[in-house]
Protein backbone atom coordinates (compact mmCIF):
# COMPACT_ATOMS: atom_id res chain seq x y z
CA UNK A 1 0.00 0.00 0.00
CA UNK A 2 1.26 3.45 -0.82
CA UNK A 3 0.19 6.92 0.35
CA UNK A 4 -1.82 5.42 3.20
CA UNK A 5 -1.37 8.64 5.17
CA UNK A 6 -3.72 10.29 2.72
CA UNK A 7 -5.86 7.37 1.56
CA UNK A 8 -6.75 5.98 4.99
CA UNK A 9 -8.20 9.24 6.39
CA UNK A 10 -10.10 9.63 3.12
CA UNK A 11 -11.59 6.16 3.44
CA UNK A 12 -12.49 6.78 7.09
CA UNK A 13 -14.28 10.01 6.17
CA UNK A 14 -16.07 8.18 3.35
CA UNK A 15 -17.19 5.33 5.61
CA UNK A 16 -18.27 7.89 8.23
CA UNK A 17 -20.44 9.77 5.77
CA UNK A 18 -21.95 6.61 4.31
CA UNK A 19 -22.87 5.21 7.72
CA UNK A 20 -24.30 8.54 8.93
CA UNK A 21 -27.76 7.16 9.83
CA UNK A 22 -26.23 4.28 11.79
CA UNK A 23 -24.04 6.31 14.14
CA UNK A 24 -26.42 9.26 14.25
CA UNK A 25 -29.24 7.03 15.48
CA UNK A 26 -26.94 5.15 17.83
CA UNK A 27 -29.43 2.28 17.96
CA UNK A 28 -32.26 4.60 18.97
CA UNK A 29 -35.12 4.16 16.54
CA UNK A 30 -37.16 7.01 18.02
CA UNK A 31 -40.76 6.73 19.10
CA UNK A 32 -43.40 5.63 16.66
CA UNK A 33 -46.16 8.16 16.09
CA UNK A 34 -49.51 7.50 17.76
CA UNK A 35 -52.04 9.91 16.27
CA UNK A 36 -55.02 10.36 18.53
CA UNK A 37 -58.17 8.86 17.05
CA UNK A 38 -61.34 10.98 17.24
CA UNK A 39 -63.87 9.97 19.86
CA UNK A 40 -66.98 11.18 18.04
CA UNK A 41 -66.70 9.36 14.71
CA UNK A 42 -65.71 5.94 13.45
CA UNK A 43 -65.28 6.57 9.76
CA UNK A 44 -63.41 9.28 7.92
CA UNK A 45 -64.39 10.88 4.62
CA UNK A 46 -62.26 8.34 2.80
CA UNK A 47 -61.06 4.85 3.78
CA UNK A 48 -58.28 4.78 6.39
CA UNK A 49 -55.73 3.30 3.95
CA UNK A 50 -56.34 6.18 1.56
CA UNK A 51 -56.15 8.77 4.33
CA UNK A 52 -52.91 7.33 5.67
CA UNK A 53 -51.16 7.63 2.35
CA UNK A 54 -52.91 10.39 0.45
CA UNK A 55 -54.70 12.81 2.80
CA UNK A 56 -52.48 15.66 1.64
CA UNK A 57 -53.62 15.23 -1.93
CA UNK A 58 -57.23 15.35 -0.80
CA UNK A 59 -56.58 18.48 1.25
CA UNK A 60 -54.82 20.04 -1.68
CA UNK A 61 -57.83 19.26 -3.84
CA UNK A 62 -60.10 20.83 -1.23
CA UNK A 63 -57.99 23.95 -1.13
CA UNK A 64 -58.03 24.32 -4.91
CA UNK A 65 -61.78 23.82 -5.23
CA UNK A 66 -62.59 26.09 -2.31
CA UNK A 67 -60.09 28.88 -2.89
CA UNK A 68 -60.01 28.91 -6.67
CA UNK A 69 -63.51 27.73 -7.59
CA UNK A 70 -65.29 28.75 -4.39
CA UNK A 71 -67.01 25.39 -4.17
CA UNK A 72 -67.40 24.53 -0.55
CA UNK A 73 -69.65 21.55 -1.18
CA UNK A 74 -70.27 18.79 1.30
CA UNK A 75 -68.16 15.65 1.21
CA UNK A 76 -70.23 12.50 1.33
CA UNK A 77 -68.98 9.31 2.81
CA UNK A 78 -70.05 5.75 2.06
CA UNK A 79 -70.92 5.15 5.68
CA UNK A 80 -73.98 7.31 5.24
CA UNK A 81 -72.67 10.16 7.35
CA UNK A 82 -72.44 13.50 5.59
CA UNK A 83 -69.50 15.68 6.43
CA UNK A 84 -70.03 19.34 5.64
CA UNK A 85 -67.48 21.69 4.32
CA UNK A 86 -64.35 20.97 2.38
CA UNK A 87 -62.35 22.57 5.09
CA UNK A 88 -59.42 21.76 7.25
CA UNK A 89 -60.47 23.75 10.29
CA UNK A 90 -64.25 23.47 9.93
CA UNK A 91 -64.24 19.93 8.53
CA UNK A 92 -61.33 17.70 9.43
CA UNK A 93 -60.66 19.33 12.76
CA UNK A 94 -64.19 18.84 13.98
CA UNK A 95 -63.22 15.25 14.74
CA UNK A 96 -59.46 15.41 14.73
CA UNK A 97 -59.54 18.17 17.30
CA UNK A 98 -55.89 18.46 18.19
CA UNK A 99 -53.19 19.45 15.73
CA UNK A 100 -50.57 18.44 18.25
CA UNK A 101 -51.98 15.05 19.07
CA UNK A 102 -53.08 14.17 15.55
CA UNK A 103 -51.31 16.00 12.72
CA UNK A 104 -47.95 16.61 14.34
CA UNK A 105 -47.49 13.05 15.55
CA UNK A 106 -46.75 11.61 12.12
CA UNK A 107 -45.49 14.83 10.55
CA UNK A 108 -42.76 15.20 13.11
CA UNK A 109 -41.79 11.56 12.78
CA UNK A 110 -41.60 11.71 8.99
CA UNK A 111 -39.98 15.17 9.09
CA UNK A 112 -42.76 16.72 7.04
CA UNK A 113 -43.61 20.36 7.52
CA UNK A 114 -46.87 21.05 5.71
CA UNK A 115 -47.53 24.69 5.01
CA UNK A 116 -51.21 24.60 6.08
CA UNK A 117 -50.41 26.95 8.93
CA UNK A 118 -48.79 29.55 6.72
CA UNK A 119 -52.36 30.75 6.03
CA UNK A 120 -54.55 29.06 8.62
CA UNK A 121 -54.28 30.31 12.14
CA UNK A 122 -52.94 27.54 14.26
CA UNK A 123 -55.43 26.44 16.93
CA UNK A 124 -54.36 27.34 20.44
CA UNK A 125 -53.54 24.26 22.43
CA UNK A 126 -52.55 23.93 26.02
CA UNK A 127 -50.08 21.14 26.83
Amino acid sequence: MYDMKKILPGLIIFAGLMTFPIWYNGGDAGTLPKPEKPSNAKECVRPTEYMRTSHMQLLNEFRDTVVRESERGAIKEAGGVTYDDKSLMLGCMKCHVSKKKFCDECHTYAAVKPYCWDCHIQPKETN
Binding site: Y2, L11, A15, N25, G27, L32, T53, M56, A111, Y115
Partner: protein, 331 residues
Protein backbone atom coordinates in the same frame (compact mmCIF):
# COMPACT_ATOMS: atom_id res chain seq x y z
CA UNK B 1 -28.02 -3.72 -28.87
CA UNK B 2 -25.67 -1.67 -26.74
CA UNK B 3 -28.68 0.39 -25.66
CA UNK B 4 -31.28 -2.33 -25.66
CA UNK B 5 -29.58 -4.89 -23.40
CA UNK B 6 -29.01 -2.56 -20.45
CA UNK B 7 -32.57 -1.30 -20.88
CA UNK B 8 -33.89 -4.86 -20.72
CA UNK B 9 -31.67 -5.52 -17.71
CA UNK B 10 -33.25 -2.63 -15.80
CA UNK B 11 -36.73 -3.76 -16.80
CA UNK B 12 -35.83 -7.24 -15.59
CA UNK B 13 -34.78 -5.81 -12.22
CA UNK B 14 -38.10 -3.99 -11.95
CA UNK B 15 -40.01 -7.14 -12.88
CA UNK B 16 -37.98 -9.22 -10.44
CA UNK B 17 -38.82 -6.96 -7.51
CA UNK B 18 -42.47 -6.71 -8.55
CA UNK B 19 -42.94 -10.45 -8.91
CA UNK B 20 -40.88 -11.18 -5.82
CA UNK B 21 -43.08 -8.98 -3.66
CA UNK B 22 -46.45 -9.27 -5.35
CA UNK B 23 -46.50 -12.96 -6.25
CA UNK B 24 -43.93 -14.60 -4.01
CA UNK B 25 -44.46 -12.38 -0.95
CA UNK B 26 -40.74 -11.95 -0.34
CA UNK B 27 -41.12 -8.62 1.45
CA UNK B 28 -38.50 -9.49 4.05
CA UNK B 29 -35.99 -10.49 1.38
CA UNK B 30 -36.46 -7.32 -0.66
CA UNK B 31 -36.96 -4.98 2.27
CA UNK B 32 -34.31 -6.20 4.70
CA UNK B 33 -31.93 -8.90 3.43
CA UNK B 34 -31.09 -7.43 0.04
CA UNK B 35 -30.63 -3.85 1.30
CA UNK B 36 -28.17 -5.05 3.95
CA UNK B 37 -26.30 -7.15 1.41
CA UNK B 38 -26.23 -4.34 -1.13
CA UNK B 39 -24.99 -1.80 1.41
CA UNK B 40 -22.27 -4.19 2.60
CA UNK B 41 -21.23 -4.76 -1.00
CA UNK B 42 -21.20 -1.03 -1.63
CA UNK B 43 -19.14 -0.09 1.41
CA UNK B 44 -16.88 -3.14 1.38
CA UNK B 45 -16.44 -3.09 -2.38
CA UNK B 46 -15.65 0.60 -2.38
CA UNK B 47 -12.99 0.25 0.31
CA UNK B 48 -11.59 -2.87 -1.35
CA UNK B 49 -11.30 -1.08 -4.67
CA UNK B 50 -9.55 1.94 -3.19
CA UNK B 51 -7.11 -0.23 -1.22
CA UNK B 52 -6.52 -2.30 -4.35
CA UNK B 53 -5.61 0.84 -6.23
CA UNK B 54 -3.43 1.96 -3.33
CA UNK B 55 -1.26 -1.11 -3.91
CA UNK B 56 0.05 0.37 -7.14
CA UNK B 57 3.02 2.62 -6.54
CA UNK B 58 3.05 5.83 -8.52
CA UNK B 59 6.70 6.69 -8.02
CA UNK B 60 7.09 9.34 -10.65
CA UNK B 61 5.25 12.58 -11.12
CA UNK B 62 2.79 12.28 -13.97
CA UNK B 63 0.46 15.26 -13.55
CA UNK B 64 -1.19 16.58 -16.67
CA UNK B 65 0.46 19.92 -17.15
CA UNK B 66 -2.14 22.35 -18.40
CA UNK B 67 -0.17 25.55 -17.89
CA UNK B 68 3.23 27.08 -17.32
CA UNK B 69 5.32 25.01 -14.92
CA UNK B 70 7.35 26.44 -12.08
CA UNK B 71 10.40 27.90 -13.77
CA UNK B 72 12.57 31.00 -13.63
CA UNK B 73 11.46 33.81 -11.35
CA UNK B 74 10.37 36.14 -14.16
CA UNK B 75 8.15 33.48 -15.79
CA UNK B 76 4.79 33.38 -14.10
CA UNK B 77 3.71 29.89 -13.04
CA UNK B 78 0.16 28.68 -13.54
CA UNK B 79 -0.27 27.50 -9.97
CA UNK B 80 -3.55 25.62 -10.51
CA UNK B 81 -2.94 24.01 -13.86
CA UNK B 82 0.64 23.00 -13.19
CA UNK B 83 0.95 22.97 -9.41
CA UNK B 84 4.28 22.36 -7.76
CA UNK B 85 3.18 22.63 -4.12
CA UNK B 86 0.76 20.87 -1.81
CA UNK B 87 -1.60 23.85 -1.75
CA UNK B 88 -1.57 24.14 -5.51
CA UNK B 89 -2.55 20.48 -5.80
CA UNK B 90 -5.22 20.93 -3.13
CA UNK B 91 -6.74 23.80 -5.05
CA UNK B 92 -6.62 21.85 -8.28
CA UNK B 93 -8.23 18.80 -6.66
CA UNK B 94 -10.99 20.79 -4.98
CA UNK B 95 -11.90 22.49 -8.25
CA UNK B 96 -11.79 19.12 -9.96
CA UNK B 97 -13.96 17.31 -7.44
CA UNK B 98 -16.48 20.05 -6.73
CA UNK B 99 -16.64 21.89 -10.05
CA UNK B 100 -15.44 19.31 -12.61
CA UNK B 101 -12.81 21.66 -13.99
CA UNK B 102 -11.50 19.12 -16.51
CA UNK B 103 -14.93 18.77 -18.05
CA UNK B 104 -15.13 22.54 -18.34
CA UNK B 105 -12.32 22.29 -20.84
CA UNK B 106 -14.32 19.86 -22.95
CA UNK B 107 -14.08 20.78 -26.60
CA UNK B 108 -15.61 19.56 -29.81
CA UNK B 109 -14.06 19.14 -33.23
CA UNK B 110 -16.10 19.58 -36.38
CA UNK B 111 -15.19 19.24 -40.04
CA UNK B 112 -16.70 21.92 -42.23
CA UNK B 113 -16.65 22.41 -46.01
CA UNK B 114 -13.27 23.21 -47.30
CA UNK B 115 -12.38 20.78 -45.67
CA UNK B 116 -11.77 22.79 -42.58
CA UNK B 117 -11.35 21.41 -39.08
CA UNK B 118 -12.90 23.60 -36.43
CA UNK B 119 -12.47 23.28 -32.69
CA UNK B 120 -14.94 24.83 -30.31
CA UNK B 121 -15.80 24.91 -26.67
CA UNK B 122 -18.54 22.53 -25.55
CA UNK B 123 -19.84 23.20 -22.09
CA UNK B 124 -23.09 21.22 -22.11
CA UNK B 125 -21.54 18.03 -20.76
CA UNK B 126 -19.94 20.00 -17.95
CA UNK B 127 -23.15 21.87 -17.16
CA UNK B 128 -25.45 18.85 -17.14
CA UNK B 129 -22.85 16.67 -15.47
CA UNK B 130 -22.52 19.19 -12.67
CA UNK B 131 -26.29 19.60 -12.34
CA UNK B 132 -26.76 15.85 -12.32
CA UNK B 133 -24.18 15.17 -9.62
CA UNK B 134 -25.33 17.92 -7.29
CA UNK B 135 -28.98 16.99 -7.73
CA UNK B 136 -28.14 13.38 -6.95
CA UNK B 137 -26.31 14.55 -3.83
CA UNK B 138 -29.32 16.59 -2.68
CA UNK B 139 -31.61 13.63 -3.30
CA UNK B 140 -29.40 11.26 -1.31
CA UNK B 141 -29.10 13.73 1.57
CA UNK B 142 -32.81 14.45 1.81
CA UNK B 143 -33.55 10.72 1.88
CA UNK B 144 -31.68 10.62 5.19
CA UNK B 145 -34.81 11.98 6.91
CA UNK B 146 -36.22 8.48 6.51
CA UNK B 147 -33.22 6.82 8.14
CA UNK B 148 -32.76 8.92 11.26
CA UNK B 149 -35.16 8.87 14.18
CA UNK B 150 -34.66 12.51 15.14
CA UNK B 151 -34.18 14.60 12.06
CA UNK B 152 -31.43 17.21 12.40
CA UNK B 153 -32.05 20.79 11.27
CA UNK B 154 -29.75 20.72 8.28
CA UNK B 155 -31.88 17.97 6.72
CA UNK B 156 -34.99 20.10 7.20
CA UNK B 157 -33.16 23.01 5.59
CA UNK B 158 -32.13 20.99 2.54
CA UNK B 159 -35.61 19.60 2.16
CA UNK B 160 -37.16 23.06 2.46
CA UNK B 161 -34.74 24.36 -0.16
CA UNK B 162 -35.55 21.51 -2.51
CA UNK B 163 -39.30 22.15 -2.15
CA UNK B 164 -38.83 25.92 -2.30
CA UNK B 165 -41.67 26.66 -4.70
CA UNK B 166 -44.30 24.86 -2.60
CA UNK B 167 -46.11 23.35 -5.55
CA UNK B 168 -48.90 20.92 -4.67
CA UNK B 169 -49.11 18.51 -1.80
CA UNK B 170 -46.92 16.61 -1.16
CA UNK B 171 -44.58 19.44 -2.09
CA UNK B 172 -42.84 19.10 -5.42
CA UNK B 173 -39.08 18.66 -5.17
CA UNK B 174 -37.17 20.53 -7.85
CA UNK B 175 -34.50 17.86 -7.72
CA UNK B 176 -37.01 15.29 -9.00
CA UNK B 177 -37.56 17.22 -12.21
CA UNK B 178 -33.95 18.31 -12.62
CA UNK B 179 -32.50 14.82 -12.29
CA UNK B 180 -34.79 13.47 -15.00
CA UNK B 181 -33.75 16.35 -17.23
CA UNK B 182 -30.04 15.85 -16.53
CA UNK B 183 -30.09 12.06 -16.92
CA UNK B 184 -32.15 12.53 -20.05
CA UNK B 185 -29.50 14.84 -21.45
CA UNK B 186 -26.65 12.50 -20.57
CA UNK B 187 -28.52 9.66 -22.27
CA UNK B 188 -29.46 11.60 -25.40
CA UNK B 189 -25.89 12.86 -25.69
CA UNK B 190 -24.70 9.27 -25.98
CA UNK B 191 -27.46 8.46 -28.42
CA UNK B 192 -27.40 11.49 -30.71
CA UNK B 193 -23.73 12.44 -30.87
CA UNK B 194 -22.25 9.94 -33.35
CA UNK B 195 -18.73 10.10 -31.88
CA UNK B 196 -19.92 9.45 -28.36
CA UNK B 197 -22.38 6.79 -29.53
CA UNK B 198 -19.52 4.91 -31.15
CA UNK B 199 -17.54 4.68 -27.93
CA UNK B 200 -20.54 4.04 -25.63
CA UNK B 201 -20.87 0.60 -24.12
CA UNK B 202 -23.67 -1.21 -22.29
CA UNK B 203 -21.81 -0.31 -19.09
CA UNK B 204 -22.38 3.34 -19.96
CA UNK B 205 -26.08 2.99 -20.60
CA UNK B 206 -26.89 0.67 -17.71
CA UNK B 207 -26.20 3.16 -14.89
CA UNK B 208 -28.11 5.85 -16.77
CA UNK B 209 -31.15 3.61 -17.17
CA UNK B 210 -30.85 2.42 -13.59
CA UNK B 211 -30.68 5.94 -12.15
CA UNK B 212 -33.50 7.06 -14.43
CA UNK B 213 -35.63 4.13 -13.24
CA UNK B 214 -34.82 4.93 -9.60
CA UNK B 215 -35.89 8.53 -10.13
CA UNK B 216 -39.08 7.52 -11.96
CA UNK B 217 -40.12 4.98 -9.31
CA UNK B 218 -39.39 7.53 -6.60
CA UNK B 219 -41.46 10.16 -8.36
CA UNK B 220 -44.30 7.71 -8.92
CA UNK B 221 -44.20 6.79 -5.26
CA UNK B 222 -44.22 10.37 -4.01
CA UNK B 223 -46.72 11.98 -6.33
CA UNK B 224 -48.86 9.26 -7.86
CA UNK B 225 -48.93 5.77 -6.34
CA UNK B 226 -48.93 6.89 -2.76
CA UNK B 227 -47.36 4.71 -0.08
CA UNK B 228 -47.50 4.78 3.68
CA UNK B 229 -44.48 6.85 4.68
CA UNK B 230 -44.73 5.95 8.35
CA UNK B 231 -44.33 2.23 7.65
CA UNK B 232 -41.46 3.00 5.30
CA UNK B 233 -39.66 5.15 7.83
CA UNK B 234 -40.16 2.49 10.48
CA UNK B 235 -38.44 0.01 8.16
CA UNK B 236 -35.67 2.43 7.16
CA UNK B 237 -34.88 3.50 10.74
CA UNK B 238 -35.05 -0.18 11.68
CA UNK B 239 -32.43 -0.95 9.06
CA UNK B 240 -30.19 1.82 10.38
CA UNK B 241 -30.53 0.60 13.97
CA UNK B 242 -30.13 -3.08 13.06
CA UNK B 243 -33.61 -3.96 14.28
CA UNK B 244 -35.65 -3.96 11.06
CA UNK B 245 -39.40 -4.33 11.31
CA UNK B 246 -41.78 -4.80 8.43
CA UNK B 247 -44.98 -3.28 9.63
CA UNK B 248 -48.23 -2.94 7.72
CA UNK B 249 -48.74 -2.85 4.00
CA UNK B 250 -46.22 -1.01 1.81
CA UNK B 251 -46.94 -0.75 -1.92
CA UNK B 252 -44.84 -2.82 -4.33
CA UNK B 253 -43.58 0.39 -5.98
CA UNK B 254 -41.54 0.94 -2.82
CA UNK B 255 -39.91 -2.48 -3.10
CA UNK B 256 -39.15 -1.85 -6.76
CA UNK B 257 -37.59 1.49 -5.84
CA UNK B 258 -35.32 0.13 -3.15
CA UNK B 259 -34.45 -2.96 -5.15
CA UNK B 260 -33.19 -0.71 -7.94
CA UNK B 261 -31.24 1.33 -5.39
CA UNK B 262 -29.78 -1.91 -4.03
CA UNK B 263 -28.79 -2.91 -7.56
CA UNK B 264 -27.07 0.44 -7.95
CA UNK B 265 -25.22 0.08 -4.65
CA UNK B 266 -24.11 -3.47 -5.35
CA UNK B 267 -23.06 -2.57 -8.88
CA UNK B 268 -21.27 0.59 -7.82
CA UNK B 269 -17.82 -0.66 -6.76
CA UNK B 270 -17.41 -2.82 -9.83
CA UNK B 271 -18.32 -0.29 -12.46
CA UNK B 272 -17.45 3.08 -13.93
CA UNK B 273 -19.34 4.61 -11.04
CA UNK B 274 -16.20 4.09 -8.97
CA UNK B 275 -15.01 7.39 -10.43
CA UNK B 276 -16.41 8.65 -7.13
CA UNK B 277 -13.38 7.19 -5.39
CA UNK B 278 -11.18 7.29 -8.47
CA UNK B 279 -11.29 11.03 -8.95
CA UNK B 280 -9.44 11.46 -5.67
CA UNK B 281 -6.78 9.02 -6.79
CA UNK B 282 -6.07 10.31 -10.29
CA UNK B 283 -2.29 10.69 -10.44
CA UNK B 284 -2.62 13.08 -13.34
CA UNK B 285 -4.48 15.47 -11.04
CA UNK B 286 -3.34 14.81 -7.49
CA UNK B 287 0.41 15.00 -8.00
CA UNK B 288 2.58 18.08 -7.73
CA UNK B 289 4.84 18.77 -10.67
CA UNK B 290 7.97 18.96 -8.52
CA UNK B 291 10.35 16.57 -10.25
CA UNK B 292 12.96 19.31 -10.43
CA UNK B 293 12.74 20.03 -6.70
CA UNK B 294 12.28 16.62 -5.07
CA UNK B 295 13.97 13.35 -5.96
CA UNK B 296 11.37 10.60 -6.33
CA UNK B 297 12.81 7.14 -5.90
CA UNK B 298 11.15 4.17 -7.47
CA UNK B 299 10.09 1.93 -4.55
CA UNK B 300 10.68 -1.31 -6.43
CA UNK B 301 14.27 -0.53 -7.29
CA UNK B 302 16.62 -3.36 -6.28
CA UNK B 303 18.87 -1.87 -3.59
CA UNK B 304 21.69 -4.18 -4.73
CA UNK B 305 21.84 -2.48 -8.08
CA UNK B 306 23.99 0.57 -7.52
CA UNK B 307 23.66 3.63 -9.71
CA UNK B 308 26.05 3.51 -12.64
CA UNK B 309 26.84 6.95 -13.98
CA UNK B 310 28.21 7.63 -17.44
CA UNK B 311 31.56 8.60 -15.97
CA UNK B 312 31.80 5.21 -14.29
CA UNK B 313 30.70 3.51 -17.48
CA UNK B 314 33.41 5.29 -19.44
CA UNK B 315 36.01 4.34 -16.84
CA UNK B 316 34.99 0.73 -17.16
CA UNK B 317 34.97 0.53 -20.94
CA UNK B 318 37.45 3.26 -21.97
CA UNK B 319 39.89 0.87 -23.64
CA UNK B 320 37.25 -0.82 -25.73
CA UNK B 321 35.73 2.47 -26.67
CA UNK B 322 38.95 4.01 -27.89
CA UNK B 323 39.73 0.78 -29.78
CA UNK B 324 36.40 1.04 -31.52
CA UNK B 325 36.92 4.74 -32.24
CA UNK B 326 34.05 5.81 -30.04
CA UNK B 327 34.73 9.31 -28.73
CA UNK B 328 35.29 9.48 -24.97
CA UNK B 329 35.06 12.48 -22.70
CA UNK B 330 38.19 11.75 -20.69
CA UNK B 331 41.22 10.58 -22.60
Amino acid sequence: MKVLYPFIAVLALVALAFVGVKAAGLQYLFGVVIPYMAFAMFLGGFIYKVLHWAKSPVPFRIPTTCGQANSLKFIEQNKLDCPSTFWGVTGRMLLEVFLFRSLFRNSKAEVHDGPKLVYGSSKYLWLFGLIFHYTFLVIVIRHMRLFVGHVPDFLHAIEAGDALFQVGAPLLYQSDLIILLAVGFLFLRRLINANVRYISLPADYFPLFLIFAIAVTGILMRYFLRVDIINIKQLAVGLATFSPVLHGEIGSIFYIHIFLVCALMAYFPFSKLMHMGGVWMSPTRNMANNSRMVRHINPWNDPNIKPHSYADYEDEFREFMTDANIPVEKE
